[in-house]
Amino acid sequence: MKREINRVKRPGVLLITAAVSVAVGISSFTLAARAAASSDPLQLIASVRSAKPGAISATALITLQGIVRNAGDGGGGEQVLTEARALPTPVGAHASYVIPSRTGDMCFFAEGVGEWCGPPLTLTEPVQFGVEDNDGPGGTGPLAFGLAADGVESITFSEDDTLHIVPVHQNVFEFVGAPSASVNSFTNVYATFADGHQVRVTAP
């Protein structure tokens, strides 16, 4: 009789164990997904961590609102302007901002220069390196600029076979290239951390 009872009970115990395991698995997955989704895209940018969200100039706000409206869904259209933070260091004398996006991306906007939205900085991709050239080859040289994660001290790159080392100030760097250079002249970009180790960076 006892054996029969045990036989009847075992499937129940197994079912409960299986159900608990599935529930724990689902909960862990959900928590991990939530943690990934809610990770702060600005976490490696110390210079804006204490900056007031949304404190941007009126002209920058109007430009950004136009960009968001025009970009529509996805890409630049998902920027959360109320969370925009001003960087203490300008780019080419222009105020610059980092703006989180609902897509999980981070946007970098330099007033009067331009904007991009891409993956947030990480320790394996610690630099966002972009280049703009207003007047084309022969005029003012292209402006190489971008954001660097906390701990990156300098950016090293080749501009048409000439090596340059550019310091990072409060997560921002900029460099004006030779007049003959173009936006595609920059290669072999590396981020150098304070301890000397280097990470290769993607660059146009």
Partner: protein, 140 residues
């Protein structure tokens, strides 16, 4: 006591009310602008690549030829190496060029030289093919 004439009263009311009316309409104009809507359209948009497929061979999408572009932008579904620029077919010259790797959105507010130019967008470094939307504002 002498009663003031009607036109003096009207003038007084007008003078008093003018700043209030001006402030009201000024406030409305400012509010409209800060909502991203200007009272009169200052520029128009040309979507020169509307969910078009940009190929990895770097062949660009091109806008029409105009002399008054003010900005250019590209959005892609996935991240890619992107470039936007203004191209002058008459001289084979490029300006207002901006490039960035591994992004899904790139915007450049830049005024090309007054001569006629096309705005263009393309992929770099063999990335893609990629579905994209490229737009350029022009005007007024």
């Amino acid at each position: 006591m002498k009663r003031p004439r009607m036109h003096v009263v009207a003038l007084g009311i007008a003078v008093c009310c003018l700043p209030i009316v001006a402030a009201f309409f000024g406030g409305r104009a400012l509010a409209a602008m800060t909502r991203g809507r200007t009272l009169a359209p200052l520029s128009q948009t040309e979507t020169y690549c509307n969910v078009c497929l940009l190929r990895s061979n770097g062949v660009p999408a091109s806008s029409s030829l105009r002399g008054n572009f003010v900005d250019n932008q590209i959005s892609t579904v996935s991240k890619a190496d992107l470039q936007i620029y203004a191209y002058y077919p008459a001289t084979n010259y490029v300006s207002c060029s901006m490039a960035k790797d591994n992004v899904a959105f790139l915007y450049f507010g830049c005024l090309p030289a007054s001569s006629q130019a096309e705005e263009r967008c393309h992929l770099l470094h063999g990335t893609g093919p990629e579905s994209a939307i490229c737009k350029a504002d022009y005007g007024p």
